[in-house]
């Protein structure tokens, strides 16, 4: 289960840090989809990226890697 939070790139222009989606790698401008699973926080662009993280990324590169 996740929720929307204002966690993307700071708009105060003092920080040059970017926040990247854990699935697609895109820099997130402001609102992020934040999930916590097994005590681990992940930041995604949206719920679609979270779904693909489970359906594509984890089977290919994660613990379910063949």
């Amino acid at each position: 289960m996740g929720e929307w939070q204002d966690r993307g790139k700071s708009s105060d222009y003092l920080s040059k840090l970017d926040v990247y989606c854990a699935f697609c790698g895109k820099s997130i401008p402001r609102r992020a989809w934040v999930t916590i699973q097994g005590g681990h926080e992940s930041i995604f662009c949206n719920p679609e990226c979270e779904r693909l993280h489970h359906e594509y990324w984890i089977p290919r590169y994660g613990s379910q890697k063949p």
Partner: protein, 574 residues
């Protein structure tokens, strides 16, 4: 009640026509050849959530990126920041943009006092300051050297110029008159959108239009999913290389794994080289636009182009790589050069699944040639960004097109007369290059050669090319396309030589701020497209015609196509 398919089609066509008219307004009123000859711009409409509801068939690289650029801008400033007559400008590659010269202007579209959505244009400004005249410094190492970077800022406030921003632009660009003219052409284009939508609002309320655009987006998504479902499920890999980054002469790999499952695609660029020091890094928006472009080439072209057709396509681009640059990486060539290669690797991967739909590699370089100086006749500073067209890859049904803009754009060949009337350059020759199309059952398209002679005491030039060492690949037994090139013949010399030899540049294809002089000649060669299928299976009459037209030499006809041809032999075309 839902609208009929006929009504939806009429609405789609009307919105598309508005976008086309926006483009015509810009084309006919802009100052720079890159706009009015090169068509290096896009026009699109978005709903109030920033979803693209219509577009015209202008530059696909910007169309794909606009999806991300508008999203970023609305996330950062919010739709509520728009008042009637406001226009925001934004060119920041690190805030959802494609590359620095491409400026997005966006205006809120209102039905009475209610925000309906947005009209946006992205256009390539010919001069944006930075270390090289005309932008595209081939040896930049960080974005700060590449020109003036604008985060989303207001350019027009309720119809009035925000002069503080205009002053910054005019001060930092080398050719402020061109910037002024081109930005006003873009503003005119946005105004045309509001006027035409006002006409539409007179006959239909905004609610019903938005209900139908929602339906159109859903239909496009379903159509695209059906197209993807026709590709066998699986993971298809491909890789290609950028030759160098202008700073070190080492190739950099672009790797993709395209995962197809049902009606969904993930293009995963994991394994691509880390970001380069030189200016060939792509932003995420560039990589996404290139991926959409490739997939659109392989699917039904009749799918209404709106946000719906992007939904089933997902991109994985590791941050800090050549396909998703981190600040402060230099990025201007990521759009013109790496973009082409990304289109190619996605096409190459999908060719393994659907070879009869795919094409061999196109010339895949913008052959970007930048020049500027003081015009000896007017005493005014000039600058121009020129790109050369290339040969396209052949497919299972057709020869590749000759001398056409690489698939990232739809730009036309800039006429010889433009060079000669606006800049101190004389065109000594401009021709198709014999044997530059990869051999095949279907032949790759031909590249071009252009020789320009400098007619001023001095001129500053820069270049950002690729495909000078690694040729475009063929498919299904087709041969590679011809290489690109840029060389110089000094006024006192008889031969053309590479810039590495004459000026000791690190890269033969990427350099900036070289001073050339009166009488020097620059030879620009664009690459050809790869061939498709065994050349010995090419229809014999076509080989004869190619030789007759000097597209293929008699030597090549004999060696690659297995046919001895007398060049004076008549063909069916005389």
């Amino acid at each position: 009640m839902a609208s009929s398919l006929t009504d939806l089609t009429l609405l789609h066509n009307r919105l598309t026509s508005i976008c086309r008219e926006m483009g015509i307004a810009m084309m006919t009123s802009s100052y720079s050849p890159v706009f009015n000859e090169g068509f290096d711009f896009v026009c699109a409409l978005f709903d109030s959530q920033g979803r693209m509801i219509a577009q015209a068939e202008y530059n696909p690289s910007m169309l794909g990126a606009a999806h991300h650029t508008v999203h970023w801008l609305l996330e950062e400033v919010g739709a509520q920041a728009f008042q009637r007559g406001d226009v925001w400008v934004h060119n920041d590659p690190y805030r959802g943009g494609c590359h620095l010269p491409e400026h997005m202007l966006i205006r809120g579209i209102f039905e009475r006092d209610r925000l309906f959505g947005f009209a946006a244009t992205i256009g390539h400004l010919a001069e944006i300051g930075g270390k090289a005249v005309g932008g595209l410094a081939g040896d930049a190492t960080e974005v700060y050297q590449e020109g003036l970077r604008l985060p989303p800022v207001k350019l027009m406030d309720r119809g009035e110029h925000v002069m503080d921003i205009w002053k910054i632009l005019m001060t930092n660009h080398r050719t402020p008159k061109l910037t002024w003219g081109d930005l006003h052409a873009m503003l005119g284009s946005l105004r045309a959108a509001q006027l035409r939508l006002d006409e539409l609002f007179a006959s239909r309320d905004a609610e019903s239009i938005l209900r139908d655009t929602e339906d159109l987006m859903d239909r496009s998504e379903r159509w695209m999913r059906r197209e993807i479902e026709s590709i066998p499920d699986g993971v298809y890999d491909f890789e290609d290389w950028m030759e160098n980054d202008g700073i070190t002469n080492e190739p950099l790999r672009i790797k993709v794994a395209v995962w197809i499952k049902g009606g969904e695609i993930v293009a995963d660029f994991t394994g691509t080289a880390p970001q380069a020091r030189g200016p060939i890094n792509a932003t995420y928006a560039v990589t996404a636009a290139a991926t959409y472009n490739s997939i659109f080439h392989l699917t039904d072209p009749n799918i209404p182009r709106n946000a719906g057709c992007h939904r089933p396509i997902h991109i994985v681009a590791p941050p800090g790589s050549l396909v998703n640059v981190r600040l402060p990486g230099a990025e201007v060539g990521g759009n013109s050069e790496t973009h082409c290669r990304i289109i190619g690797v996605v096409m190459g991967a999908l060719a393994k699944a659907v070879p009869n739909r795919a094409a061999a590699a196109d010339g895949a370089t913008g052959c970007n040639f930048l020049f500027g100086g003081v015009h000896p006749e007017t005493g005014e500073f000039y600058a121009n960004y020129h790109f050369e067209n290339v040969g396209w890859g052949a497919s299972s049904r057709h020869d590749g097109n000759d001398a056409q803009c690489a698939p990232l754009a739809i730009s036309r060949n800039v006429p010889v007369e433009i060079f000669e009337s606006r800049y101190p350059l004389l065109t000594r020759s401009f021709r198709l290059v014999t044997d530059s199309g990869g051999a095949g059952t279907f032949r790759g398209g031909l590249g071009t050669e252009r020789i320009l002679e400098v007619r001023a005491p001095e001129m500053t030039i820069s270049a950002l090319f690729d495909r000078m060492q690694i040729p475009p690949w063929g498919l299904e037994g087709g041969g590679p396309g011809g290489l690109a090139g840029i060389a110089i013949r000094r006024a006192s010399e008889s031969d053309f030589r590479l810039f590495t030899d004459v000026f000791h540049t690190v890269s033969p294809s990427k350099f900036s701020n070289i001073i050339v002089r009166q009488g020097d000649q620059i030879r620009i060669v664009s690459s050809g497209g790869g061939g498709y299928g065994d050349p010995r299976l090419r229809e014999r009459g076509r080989v004869r015609e190619d030789v007759r037209n000097r597209y293929v030499s008699s030597t090549c006809a004999e060696d690659l196509y297995g046919l001895t041809v007398n060049e004076s032999e008549p063909t069916k075309h005389g």
